[in-house]
């Protein structure tokens, strides 16, 4: 694996899953120990995706890519991002091109003997420019009129599509108008005070539209008149929030705050629910963090 070409071949075979299990493991050993090789492999993967998106990859590469895309939302997300990035990169000027041409234009003074000729050429250039502007203006007016007609047609089509969409949504609503399933409240314990015992996963059955949660509140934290809760994904994306929540004692005198989360927000994965106490001067203070995992049967 000495030459650059040979290394590139290894990377391609690794990414296409063509290495034997022994070769696969050995190549992984190498790139996990060599950060530069890891980044080269990442670059090779991006290159492969570019080639796929531009229809420039081989049939075997295309087959592997399509299999992966069909198998995983991770890959579809990656492909969509690369496509967007390519759209953007192709719409901006090449890096460095502006500087390269602008420096070439400043080439010094024009010789005195050539000045009348230059003046005549400039006048001719202005005349040509005016002519171009005139023709261009007429073309713009004609195009504008044509575009207006097309716009009216598109708007009519859009209105028709919207009407059909509304009808389909209504049909769908009629079909799915079943009473929503209810589920028993799920008790969450604060992550800040919990010992190493794990929170049980929250199982959201199919058909449930809202998930009732009971947030257990420790003694001493009930000094706030109201509370606010916010649901975030593990990477910090805020999904939902609610304020004006009040604590209430449960049957066993444990203080609880009851909330209802829309089930649509809860996919499989980990979530963080943050609870802030709001003091009488409206100042929020974090009182509890609940970390839990959602599974869907």
């Amino acid at each position: 694996m000495s030459s650059e070409g040979e290394q590139k071949q290894w990377m391609t075979r690794y990414l296409l899953g063509e290495l034997s299990p022994e070769e696969h493991a050995s190549f992984e050993d190498r790139y996990l120990a060599d950060p530069d090789l890891f980044e080269q492999l990442a670059a090779a993967e991006d290159e492969m995706i570019h080639a796929y998106l531009q229809g420039e990859c081989s049939a075997s590469e295309k087959a592997v890519m399509e299999k992966r895309i069909a198998a995983s939302p991770d890959w579809r997300q990656k492909i969509e991002f690369e496509r967007t990035l390519m759209d953007h990169v192709s719409s901006v000027p090449a890096p460095g091109a502006v500087g390269a041409f602008s420096s070439a234009s400043a080439t010094g003074e024009i010789p005195r003997a050539r000045r009348p000729l230059v003046t005549a050429l400039r006048l001719a250039a202005v005349a040509v420019w005016l002519l171009v502007v005139l023709i261009g203006g007429m073309w713009l007016i004609i195009t504008n009129l044509r575009l207006r007609q097309e716009l009216a047609q598109v708007q009519a089509q859009k209105a028709d599509l919207e009407r059909r969409q509304r009808e389909m949504q209504q049909q769908l609503a009629n079909l799915s108008a079943k009473p929503p399933l209810a589920m028993a409240p799920f008790v969450l314990t604060s992550h800040l005070v919990r010992d190493s015992n794990q929170q049980k996963p929250l199982v959201v059955p199919p058909g449930v539209t809202s998930v009732p949660l009971q947030l257990s509140l420790d003694q001493g934290l009930d000094r706030f008149p109201i509370y606010a809760a916010a649901l975030e994904t593990a990477d910090g994306t805020r999904l939902w929030q609610q304020s004006n929540l009040k604590s209430q004692p449960s049957a066993n005198q444990q203080l609880m705050i009851a909330i209802e989360l829309p089930a649509g927000f809860l996919k499989r994965g980990s979530y963080v629910l943050k609870l802030n106490g709001i003091s009488s001067n409206h100042k929020p203070e974090e009182v509890a963090v609940y970390i839990f995992r959602v599974t869907r049967p």
């Binding site: 990442a42 990656k78 990035l85």
Partner: protein, 207 residues
Amino acid sequence: MENVNISTGERGLNRADFEGLLQRLHPDRNSAAETYEELRRKLIRFFRWNDCYPGEELADQTFDRVARKLGNTQVDNVPAFLWGVARNIVRESRKKPPTMNLEDLPPLHQPQTAHAELSLVEQKVRELRLQCLRKCLEQLRASDRELFLAYEYYEGKSRNTRQLAESFGITVGALQVRAHRVKHRMEKCTLKRFLAVGKSFQKEQES
């Protein structure tokens, strides 16, 4: 040092274990957070290369296991140990039967719209994604944006990548690391914005 914001999937992981992991990655909390994010980015790629999904969840699972082990096992080289755990997760994941949520099904298996409508929708979605990416790029530091876009423009042209690295006064390896870090951030940012727009559109439709 309390201002460091680390995105973590510490499911069932107590704070002490997680802080212990950060401490073992680097004594300075900011540097530890950077190392953590860097390793997470690499883990996601690693799981994708091994056809193990969802990459983000498995990366978090790797950190969780390592953090718990650090409390009761002598570990000299944390990154090497982490990669060992990641490879174990790959092995375990290959033994499990593949599962798929309904929402994870590829578009091919979802109800199809009429062709003309679909292409119109696809076109709009593509434009929307592009707008989201452009907003994210605007938030970048000018130097990062310049490096990233130049790298993306020349990607796949190794001679130009070398010249580009020279023009920035860094090695090809350093250029790739910086460009891939920015790319990872842009991918997350674009997706976040795109989903937010989708949600507000959904609300608009419902109201």
